[in-house]
């Protein structure tokens, strides 16, 4: 029996509505430090909404979310503290177009972590090297390809030295040949022991790195299992149907 302290993220009976529409229904999820979780499911199933609740980009109406021992409520201080520790990568990168790649990476460390510029730049260069684009540091996001932009976005999040990384369909807006360069970076990150929650349709990635795969439909967690049992021996009919469709082509 693991005790409460070992979980870096805990979602307990989380419910969320958009007006009348019930997007999240009684979500329960515990994430251990260093765990890699892949969340999949059809569109509109609430998987993005769920991870966006974790850093309060979306507000949940019922239930508790605890991140790194901090209860997520309407307290601005708590929200700020959680956001410092939780990095996020978006489907559409959301880089700051008026800043260079290096400035994109140093903005938050300088203003949020109050880090000296030199130190922030050194850290930024370290992470830009890890995502293999240190030579683009002084270019603007508009001058880069989609894959490069997404790698910058990953570096930008890592510069805040987060304890958890959330990925919201990071490869869905990319050309097929660019998906690989982004997934390679994510696989490396996973191998280094980063705690990751990843919403993705890349089943190959799930098989390769996930400790657990979660399947969601209509706002509920239908099934969760280790990747091997999940893909080879799905329990519910809904999961079987979904898998036959995404793996079938």
């Amino acid at each position: 029996m693991t005790n409460q302290q070992d979980f870096i993220i805990t979602l307990k009976n989380v419910n969320k509505w958009y007006g009348e529409f019930h997007v999240l229904k009684d979500i329960n999820l515990n994430v251990k430090m260093g765990e890699r979780i892949v969340i999949c499911g059809p569109s509109g199933s609430g998987k993005s909404t769920m991870i966006r609740c974790i850093n309060h980009l979306e507000e949940h109406q019922e239930g508790d979310i605890v991140v790194d021992g901090v209860l997520l409520n309407n307290d601005l201080k708590n929200i700020g503290q959680i956001r410092k520790e939780v990095g996020m990568v978006f489907q559409h990168f959301n880089l700051f177009p008026h800043l260079t790649v290096l400035q994109n990476c140093t903005l938050a460390p300088i203003w949020v972590r109050k880090m000296p510029q030199k130190e922030a730049e050194a850290i930024a260069m370290k992470y830009l090297e890890r995502v293999k684009i240190p030579d683009q540091a002084n270019k603007y996001p508009g001058q880069l390809s989609g894959g490069q932009q997404q790698r910058v976005a990953i570096a930008r999040s890592l510069c805040m030295n987060p304890r958890v990384m959330l990925f919201d369909e990071p490869t869905s807006a990319l050309d097929p040949e660019m998906i690989k360069e982004v997934l390679d970076v994510m696989v490396e990150l996973a191998q280094e022991g980063m705690t990751m929650l990843c919403v993705t349709h890349e089943m190959g990635f799930a098989k390769k790195v996930a400790d657990r795969v979660i399947f969601m439909d209509a706002g509920q967690i239908i099934e969760e299992n280790e990747p091997e049992s999940f893909f080879n021996n799905p329990q519910s009919d809904r999961t079987k149907l979904f898998l036959s469709q995404v793996l079938g082509h």
Binding site: H56, M88, H98, A108, M115, Q143, R156
Partner: protein, 392 residues
């Protein structure tokens, strides 16, 4: 396939270079003919009526008074002088209007998307009503409805016996330099330089150590402190000349004539509604993803606005802002409707009536507005280039 077998002239007609040259020559020829016809016509007409042309009238005495002048002027000055008096009055009301409309407009634009329901609705009503009423009507409203109902000088609204408001305008004390004034100005300049250095020092310190310094409030304290303390240290170098009621009107001090106030209010309020919409659309043009990225990185709302949203909104706002500044300047010529002595009212109005030199005067006036507009455009284009995004 049929072989293309055309003779020389047809081939030339289907050649894009030759064809464009031909049409350009045609247009140019037409234009030349049009101008020559007009010049010929005008010359004939002027000769027939015995009107002499030329700019000689500019050095003749004007013989009429002007209610507001930024430079020395009375009836004995020349018509040429009336040009400059009018021009400066136009520049004065335009500059005052641009500054006030920008401040008010930014406030209205930000209120328009504020999370505060009441503020949002008030600014919406403000914009929807005031931008849909013709500007001329708004000028009349301020002039005839508001300012003309103020009391006579004898019954002026008085604020502490120093500022007086009545039907003749606003009368305020006028600051006058006394001994020690140069020293005082020197102190103020030193304070401004100090604040600039403080800003650079704080930036450097933040780069090296990451510590932030409350530059804004420290600067405000330094400037205000110098302004107040410096005044007493240098022995009160500024005396005030108070306006006094003598006979039917106030003498001394300085005053704003009601025509200027009415025109300034109307131009400011009318233009601020457009600037408000420009500011709102500029801020809203920055995608929601930018806001989410800022939040996910832990930036607070003020940092999000200053570091990410506004720098991007600026590039959307500047071009339409330029046209609003130009509109305001050109709209200031409506001054003539209430008799504010701007360039159109004085020079293209009274001076034109007195001299009859319509062609020269209208040409000069049009050239002035053209020059002002082009200068403002050039400045804003330069500014726009500085904030433009680099792409590819």
């Amino acid at each position: 396939m049929k072989p293309t077998n055309r003779n020389g002239l047809t081939r030339l007609f289907y050649n894009p270079t030759a064809r464009s040259l031909f049409f350009q020559a045609l247009v140019l020829g037409g234009l030349l003919w049009f101008v020559l016809t007009i010049v010929g016509n005008v010359t004939t007409n002027l000769n027939a009526r015995g009107i002499s042309s030329g700019f000689g009238f500019l050095s003749q005495p004007a013989g009429f008074g002007i209610s507001q002048s930024l430079i020395e002027y009375n009836e004995t000055f020349t018509f040429g002088r009336t040009f400059f008096v009018g021009l400066l009055n136009t520049l004065l009301v335009s500059a005052m209007g641009v500054v006030a409309a920008t401040i008010l407009g930014v406030f209205v634009g930000i209120s328009r998307i504020s999370p505060n329901w009441l503020l949002r609705k008030i600014s919406m009503v403000y914009i929807e009503i005031l931008r849909n009423i013709p500007l001329l009507l708004q000028i009349f409203f301020w002039y005839y409805v508001v300012l003309q109902t103020l009391p006579r000088p004898r019954d002026s609204l008085s604020f502490g016996e120093t500022i007086f408001i009545n039907i003749r305008g606003v009368f305020m004390p006028k600051p006058m330099a006394e001994t020690g004034f140069a020293l005082y100005v020197g102190l103020l300049v030193a304070a401004v330089v100090g604040v600039i250095f403080l800003g650079q020092w704080a930036k450097r310190r933040m780069r090296d150590t990451g510590q932030q310094f409350p530059v804004f409030w420290t600067s405000v304290a330094i400037l205000l402190g110098t302004l107040v303390l410096g005044f007493f240290i240098t022995g009160r170098p500024i005396a005030l000349d108070y306006p006094e009621l003598r006979g039917l009107n106030f003498r001394g001090g300085m005053s704003l004539i009601p025509e200027l106030i009415a025109l300034w209010f109307a131009l400011t309020i009318y233009t601020s509604t457009y600037i408000g919409e420009i500011v709102r659309s500029g801020i809203q043009s920055v995608s929601h993803g930018q806001t989410e990225a800022c939040r996910a990185l832990g930036l607070n709302e003020k940092q999000r606005m200053n570091l990410v949203v506004l720098p991007q909104a600026m590039r959307v706002m500047i071009p339409p802002m330029t046209s609003q500044y130009l509109n305001l300047t050109k709209n200031s010529s409506l001054a003539t409707a209430i008799g504010y002595p701007d360039l159109v009212s004085v020079f293209a109005g009274t001076t034109l009536n007195q001299t009859g030199q319509a062609i020269e005067i209208i040409t000069m006036t049009m050239l002035v507005y053209l020059t002002i507009s082009l200068l403002v455009s050039a400045f804003m284009n330069w500014f726009n280039k500085r904030v433009a995004l680099v792409e590819r």
